[in-house]
C-alpha cells in the first residue's frame, strides 16, 4: 500500500482527539462501556489485519490467540494466584507462541487452505474450552466450560472513565505499533510475500519465516486485546474462542480495508458503536448490520478506508511523480551508471 499520503495523516489525529474529548460530554456508563469494548475489538480487528491484510494470509481462527490470552489471564490469576501484570505479560507471550505455532503449521499452505486450517484450529480450541471443566473453584463447583473462568482483579468495580481511557490508550498504542510494523522493512517484505510469493522468494526472502512472523506479531497484539477484554469483562468464556469472533474481525477488516490497519480500526469502531450503542431492537439490529455490510462491500469492495486512501492519493495530484513526504531524507547519492 502506498505510504501515507498527506490526506490520511490528519484524520487519525483528529479522530483520537475527538475520542479524548468525548467523555467530557458526560455520557452515561453504558456508552462508555460500549466504547471501551469497541476500542478493544478495534485493536483485535487491527491485529487480524496484520495477518490477513499485510501478509495476505486470510485467517478464520484469529480468536484462538485472543481467547488463549483471555483464558491464560483467568487461569493464572484465579488458579495460580499470579499478580495481574505478570499474568497479562505471560498471556500475551502465550498468544504470540500460539500465533507462531499456527504460522508454522499454515506456512506451507496458501489461499483457502490457510483459512480452513485456522478455522479448524480455532474450532478445536473452542470445543476444548466448552467441554472442559478445568478445576473446582473455592465454592466446590467446577469452573470452565461454557460458564467460563473469572479473573481475579485487584480492583472491584473499575470506573467507566478509567476503563474507557485505558482501552483508548491501548488502541492508540497498539494501532501505532501495528502501523509501524506494517510500514517497517518486515512489513514491506510481508506485503511482497502477499503480492507474489515466488518473486519474494526469488529475492531471497525466506517466506515461511516471514509468514510465521506475521502470525506471531498479529497473535501477540490479538493476545493483548484478549487480555484487555478479559480485564474489562472480568471473565474468560468460550465465546472468546468462538468462530463468530474470528468472522467479526475478518468482517471489520473487509469493510475497513485490508492492509491499511487504520481501516479495520475505524470500521470496528463505527460498526460496533452503531450496532451495540444505539440499542436498537434485536431483529432490526441484526438486519441493519447485515444490510450495512452488504451495501458497504458492494460499493467499497476494497474497504472504505482503502478506497478513501486511493481516492485521496489520486485527488492529491499525481502521486506517482512525487516522492512521499519523508522526514530527514538524504539527497540521493550520485548513482554511477
Amino acid at each position: 500500500m502506498r505510504s501515507a499520503a498527506p490526506f490520511s495523516g490528519g484524520w487519525p489525529a483528529a479522530g483520537i482527539g475527538l475520542l479524548l474529548l468525548f467523555p467530557l460530554s458526560s455520557p452515561d456508563a453504558f456508552f462508555l462501556d460500549v466504547f471501551t469494548t469497541g476500542f478493544l475489538l478495534a485493536a483485535f480487528a487491527a491485529s487480524w489485519d496484520v495477518v490477513g491484510g499485510v501478509s495476505g494470509q486470510i485467517t478464520l481462527g484469529h480468536a484462538l490467540p485472543f481467547g488463549a490470552a483471555a483464558y491464560a489471564c483467568a487461569l493464572l490469576t484465579s488458579f495460580a494466584g499470579w499478580p495481574l501484570p505478570l499474568a497479562v505479560a505471560a498471556a500475551v507471550l502465550l498468544a504470540a507462541a500460539v500465533g507462531a505455532g499456527i504460522g508454522a503449521i499454515s506456512a506451507p499452505l496458501d489461499g483457502p487452505f490457510v483459512a480452513l486450517l485456522t478455522l479448524a484450529l480455532g474450532e478445536i480450541a473452542h470445543e476444548a474450552a466448552v467441554g472442559n471443566t478445568f478445576f473446582s473453584g473455592p465454592g466446590g463447583y467446577a469452573w470452565g466450560g461454557e460458564g467460563g473462568i473469572p479473573v481475579t482483579l485487584p480492583w472491584r468495580d473499575a470506573s467507566p472513565f478509567s476503563s474507557y481511557y485505558a482501552a483508548l490508550a491501548f488502541l492508540c498504542l497498539g494501532s501505532f505499533g501495528m502501523l509501524r510494523f506494517s510500514r517497517s522493512g518486515a512489513g514491506l517484505i510481508l506485503r511482497a510475500v502477499a503480492g507474489s510469493p515466488i518473486t519474494a522468494q526469488a529475492s531471497g526472502v525466506p517466506i515461511a519465516r516471514f509468514k510465521r512472523l506475521a502470525f506471531t506479531v498479529g497473535a501477540a497484539f490479538a493476545g493483548a486485546a484478549g487480555a484487555g477484554f478479559v480485564l474489562h469483562v472480568g471473565r474468560a468464556t468460550a465465546n472468546d474462542l468462538s468462530l463468530e469472533l474470528s468472522f467479526q474481525a475478518a468482517t471489520f477488516a473487509a469493510v475497513g480495508g485490508r492492509g491499511t490497519i487504520v481501516g479495520p480500526v475505524v470500521a470496528a469502531l463505527v460498526l460496533h458503536l452503531l450496532f451495540q450503542g444505539l440499542s436498537l431492537p434485536p431483529s432490526a439490529r441484526v438486519l441493519l448490520y447485515a444490510l450495512t455490510l452488504l451495501v458497504t462491500l458492494r460499493f467499497f469492495p476494497g474497504g472504505v478506508v482503502g478506497t478513501a486512501r486511493d481516492l485521496a492519493s489520486r485527488l492529491g495530484g499525481k502521486e506517482g511523480a512525487r516522492p512521499p513526504r519523508r522526514r530527514g531524507r538524504k539527497r540521493p547519492g550520485e548513482g554511477t551508471p
Binding site: L18, F22, D28, T37, G131, G137, T237, N239
Partner: protein
C-alpha cells in the same frame, strides 16, 4: 468532504472543526438527563435481560414474553403503590460482555428499579457484577450454576441483592431422582450436550440416586458442533436402560429424540425442560413409548397455573414450555409481590422482604434460603416442579400426583 488545505497549521485547525460538530451532535443522541418529574409518577421499570438474537433466541423470546404477561397481570391488579409497572428489555445475545453492557444501560440510563435475568450462566454472573455495583435487586429465573448462590454466600455484603428463583443443579437432580424412584426405574441412560451444566447435572444426579439403588448404565455428552445423534442413540439403546434422560433444553433434544425413537421405538425418554415442553414439537415425535417432560409448572398444577397457561396461549398462540417462560413469569410475580410487601422499590427494603417473605407464584410458594436460593426440591413444602407425559391429545401430569 473538501480536502483540508495543507498550508494551514495542522493539528489544532483539524481538531476544532469536527470536534465541535460531533460534540454538538452527540449530546442530542442521548436524552437529556430527566428533569424533576412534575408529571404523574413515572412507571416502575423492571429491566429484563435475555438473549433475543443468536442461537439462544428461542429461550430468550419466551423469557421476555412471560415477563410481559406477568407485568400486565400486575397492572391489572392495580399496579404497585398506584404506579404502573413496565419492563425494559436488553438483548444479551448470549454473550457476557453484551449482557454486562445491557445491564449497565438498563441500570444507569433507563434507571430500572430491579433486574430479571439473564438466561445463560456466564451472562448471569456478568450481570451480577453490575447489579452488585449499582445495588440493584436481581432475580435470576433460569441460570442454574452454583457459582451464583456461592457468591451470595461468600460475599453476602456485596451480592445480597441477587436472588435465584429458578432451581439450582442439585435441586434439579433431586427432583429428577424423586421422579425416577416414583417410576421404579433401576437403570437409566443420561445424554446431553457436552457443556459444563450437563456434566455437573449428570454427576449430581448419579450421586443422589446411588443410595436409592438407581444407577446410570450409559452416559454420553455429544458436542454441539457435530452432535453424532445416531451413534449416541444406538449406544443408549444398546445399553437397554429403563429410561433415557435427555439433559438438553435446546433444539437438539427434538433431533435426538427422533433418532432414539428410530433406534429404540419402545424406550421411554425424559426431557429436562425446554424445547420438548412445546406441544408442536412433541406432536412430531412418535409416541411409541412414553415421552416425559420436566417443567417448573403445568396447566392443572394450581388454579393460578391454569389461568397463566390459558392467558399465555391466548396472548401468544401456543402454551408455555414450562421452563424458560414459566420461571421468568414467577420471577416477575415474586418481585412485584416483594415490592408490595416492602412498601417501596428501594433495594434494601426489597432484599429484606424477599429474605423473610413467602411469595406465591405459578409453580408454588417461593421462600429463599441464606444463599438466596428458592426452595426447590423433593422435600415437604418445597417447590417440586411437575413431570408430564405427552399423549395424543396433550400432556398429562404424572408426578407428583395431583
Amino acid at each position: 468532504m473538501t480536502v483540508i488545505p495543507r498550508s494551514l497549521p495542522r493539528l489544532p485547525r483539524l481538531l476544532i472543526g469536527p470536534a465541535v460538530l460531533l460534540l454538538y451532535l452527540f449530546p442530542s443522541v442521548f436524552p437529556a438527563p430527566p428533569c424533576v418529574a412534575a408529571s404523574p409518577p413515572a412507571p416502575l421499570k423492571i429491566g429484563v435481560l435475555a438473549p433475543l438474537s443468536g442461537p439462544y433466541a428461542a429461550g430468550g423470546t419466551s423469557f421476555v414474553q412471560a415477563a410481559t404477561l406477568a407485568v400486565e397481570q400486575a397492572n391489572a391488579e392495580g399496579g404497585v403503590f398506584g404506579q404502573r409497572v413496565t419492563i425494559v428489555v436488553g438483548d444479551t445475545q448470549g454473550r457476557v460482555d453484551v449482557a454486562k453492557a445491557e445491564a449497565l444501560r438498563l441500570v444507569s440510563r433507563e434507571k430500572v428499579s430491579a433486574l430479571v435475568g439473564a438466561y445463560l450462566s456466564e451472562e448471569t454472573v456478568g450481570v451480577m457484577e453490575v447489579a452488585a455495583a449499582h445495588r440493584t435487586v436481581l432475580l435470576v429465573p433460569v441460570a442454574a450454576t452454583a457459582e451464583i448462590t456461592d457468591l451470595v454466600r461468600r460475599e453476602y455484603a456485596r451480592y445480597r441483592y441477587v436472588f435465584r428463583v429458578g432451581y439450582s443443579l442439585p435441586q434439579w437432580a433431586e427432583m429428577v431422582a424423586a421422579f425416577l424412584s416414583n417410576r421404579k426405574v433401576r437403570r437409566y441412560a443420561f445424554v446431553g450436550a457436552g457443556i459444563r451444566w450437563n456434566l455437573e447435572l449428570g454427576e449430581t444426579l448419579e450421586r443422589i440416586v446411588a443410595p436409592l439403588g438407581i444407577a446410570p448404565v450409559y452416559s454420553a455428552y455429544y458436542s454441539p458442533g457435530n452432535p453424532a445423534f445416531e451413534t449416541v442413540a444406538v449406544a443408549a439403546a444398546a445399553a437397554s436402560p429403563d429410561i433415557v434422560i435427555l439433559a438438553d433444553p435446546g433444539r437438539n433434544s427434538v433431533s435426538f429424540l427422533k433418532r432414539l425413537r428410530e433406534s429404540a421405538p419402545a424406550l421411554p425418554a425424559l426431557s429436562i425442560g425446554g424445547a420438548l415442553g412445546d406441544a408442536r414439537l412433541a406432536s412430531s415425535v412418535p409416541l411409541s413409548a412414553p415421552v416425559y417432560v420436566q417443567a417448573a409448572a403445568w396447566r392443572g398444577v394450581s388454579p393460578a397455573a391454569t389461568a397463566y397457561v390459558e392467558r399465555y396461549e391466548q396472548r401468544y398462540g401456543a402454551p408455555p414450555v414450562g421452563y424458560s417462560d414459566t420461571l421468568p413469569y414467577d420471577a416477575v410475580t415474586v418481585l412485584v409481590a416483594a415490592w408490595r410487601k416492602a412498601g417501596s422499590a428501594e433495594s434494601a427494603a426489597v432484599v429484606s422482604a424477599l429474605e423473610r417473605g413467602a411469595f406465591s407464584g405459578v409453580a408454588g410458594t417461593y421462600r429463599f434460603d441464606a444463599a438466596h436460593q428458592a426452595n426447590w426440591g423433593a422435600g415437604p413444602g418445597a417447590l417440586h416442579g411437575t413431570f408430564v407425559l405427552w399423549e395424543r391429545g396433550g400432556a398429562r401430569i404424572v408426578f407428583p400426583p395431583p
